[in-house]
Symmetry: C2
Subunit: 371 residues, 2 copies
């Protein structure tokens, strides 16, 4: 029996409460995974990430391949040791960043040739190589290597790309082999076309994965298109496996996706926004650069159990951010991760108490309006 | 009786062990004060600054006047409240920054007219205004407003400037008046001219201050010139008052100055170096950007009781700093402050045990060579 498993504990109006058990600790779902791009959740100590309630983080294969290179992470004993992270780590496969960041030279049946966005160095990534890199990083949850077409692409191109990703998914599964304490997730593609999404998921289920992700979203489509893509697959996603919506999103996006049975999320929004002066709160977003906060001695959100949220005045934060002080990025990022984890905790509580519909109604419109 | 006081506890080969008692906590001397320029010790949480062993920090009147402005700090209830600092705060008077950073329009008997280095806004700072600003910031140790001439200036100019600073020192004392829980320090000027230094200090003692600082150093003179300036006054510095060497310095500078009876130090070196990839350790300086550290799994300095010093590999730190990750600045700054406070702790221990000469000999040449 595998030492990593998923248990579905409750359902409430489509939302699922679950628990992933791993040798590195448990993950209560729905879960939000802070993004630790290049071996660091930017501007945070890893202990803070954990103490905010995070139980898993995400690492980026693409970024780590480029800097510092997989060898140096391997030499340190894997990504957990390298970055002092005691939590489980999910790694993406590099597929998305190859598309969004690098200069792609060519995509063949075999893999993708691309140049680093940092120094132009050439890499060739195949499904097998992506899995090997993720195993070298000692990732707990490995993602298949897929091609992520742009949002605007036409249906036949999306279909062609999806078929390639499916063939790659099979190769990934084969390369991954049997792993006692690691999972391999398949990724559905198919853009915003419900029939393609369904077809892709069914074929992935035939191959057989430990969890199923929706990829190729959060790339420019609007919220209702994104929800439609989730709706297309929600009834055929295996109930006994985790469902992961990649790269999503705003608090209201997460609420809407949880309602559609999604268990796992990752997004750079809370960390990236923290570095630009944007804070998420239960009363909506706060652009701390705004001059009105110079006169505001209240903290960002008293209700959140985090010093960054409840112990520093907006007057002070406004000063730090407008003066480009590093502490401004540190405090806002910390607060944003604390808010996201507070949101997930309250979502889980609502599902547990069979009150998710009520919770959703109370917050979805509010977040969608003011955000 | 004042609620802030100094007690000399021991002397060992010229070095002094003391304790400053304040309503906000005690300060063991010799003490190093991390610099919190604009209401933040850059890249550190204030709790970390304290847990490293810091017992007092320095705030910059000039920077705070410019951003966020004194009114906003006052509105927050003073600088301690504004930045969540429970430790005592010493504020400099703005004199040094006016000279080194701003564009000075004119210096008159009354004060200095200058333009902000950030936005060109005009300010006029007089001795009285500087004291008022420091009182508004709720500083625990207030510094007199002085003129800081450049290192290269000729003796007659230094003398003229020193006389102006002495007249300003009298005005500062008058403006400061009687304060139950605050101190006012005088600042000796006189450049690297021993006779001027002596004359200045004697006149300051005639006016009468709670402590005596050496200003106008660490502005380009070499180490032996700096020590000569301290030597010039060391025998006439009042034994029952704290002696503060402003803006110094490297670990070896601190060692040499402690040997000459100095009790208090401040310097941006540990924090600024932390942001450029330079770490201070008991084995000398480490430029963490150096490629050799990519293969080094050891931490910066196992002997220092700080996670930044003993729990992150040089391989990881090299990656963070070379990738311009904020966490690189955070960890190196944290480590450097921990090292500086470890140095001060060991200096105090050596004085306590009457072994300062031994300690000095063991470390001074080593620091001076490799640093």
């Amino acid at each position: 029996m595998k030492s990593i498993s998923f248990n579905l504990l409750n359902e409430s109006h489509g939302a699922r409460l679950g628990k992933i058990t791993t040798p590195r600790g448990n993950i209560d779902t729905p879960a939000f995974m802070p993004v630790g791009t290049a071996g660091t959740v930017k501007a945070m100590y890893i202990d803070q990430v954990k103490s905010c309630g995070s139980q898993i983080i995400l690492g980026n294969t693409y970024h780590l391949m480029i800097r510092p290179g997989v060898e140096r992470v391997k030499q340190a004993g894997g990504l957990h040791n390298f970055m002092n992270c005691s939590m489980p780590i999910l790694t993406d496969s590099g597929g998305f960043q190859v598309m969004s960041l690098s200069k792609i030279s060519k995509v063949t049946e075999d893999g993708v040739e691309f140049s680093s966005h940092i120094d132009g160095k050439k890499f060739f990534l195949t499904p097998e190589e992506s899995i090997q890199v993720q195993l070298d990083l000692n990732s707990d949850i490995v993602m298949v290597f897929d091609e992520c077409p742009k949002y605007s692409a036409e249906k036949d191109k999306i279909k062609k790309s999806m078929d390639l990703s499916l063939r790659w998914a099979e190769r990934c599964k084969k390369k991954f082999g049997k792993q006692e304490s690691k999972w391999l997730f398949g990724i559905t593609q198919g853009g915003i076309f419900p029939d393609l999404r369904k077809e892709c998921l069914k074929k992935l289920i035939d191959i057989g994965f430990d969890g199923y992700a929706l990829g190729g979203l959060a790339v420019g489509e609007n919220q209702s298109e994104m929800f439609d893509a989730v709706d297309a697959v929600k009834d055929i996603l295996p109930k006994d496996k985790p469902h992961y919506l990649m790269g999503v999103g705003m608090p209201q996006d997460i609420l809407g996706a949880v309602k559609r049975g999604i268990d796992m999320f990752d997004c750079v929004l809370p960390t990236r926004s923290g570095r630009t002066g944007l804070a998420f709160t239960w009363n909506g977003r706060v652009n701390i650069r705004n001059a009105k906060y110079a006169k505001d001695e209240d903290p960002l959100d008293k209700s959140i159990d985090c010093p960054a949220s409840n112990s520093y005045s907006k007057n002070y934060l406004n000063h730090l951010v407008n003066s480009n002080e590093i502490l401004g990025s540190m405090l806002l990022t910390w607060h944003n991760i604390a808010f996201y984890q507070d949101l997930m905790k309250k979502i889980r509580q609502a599902i547990k108490e069979n009150k998710f519909e009520e919770f959703y109604k109370k917050h979805f419109e509010l977040f969608n309006e003011i955000n």
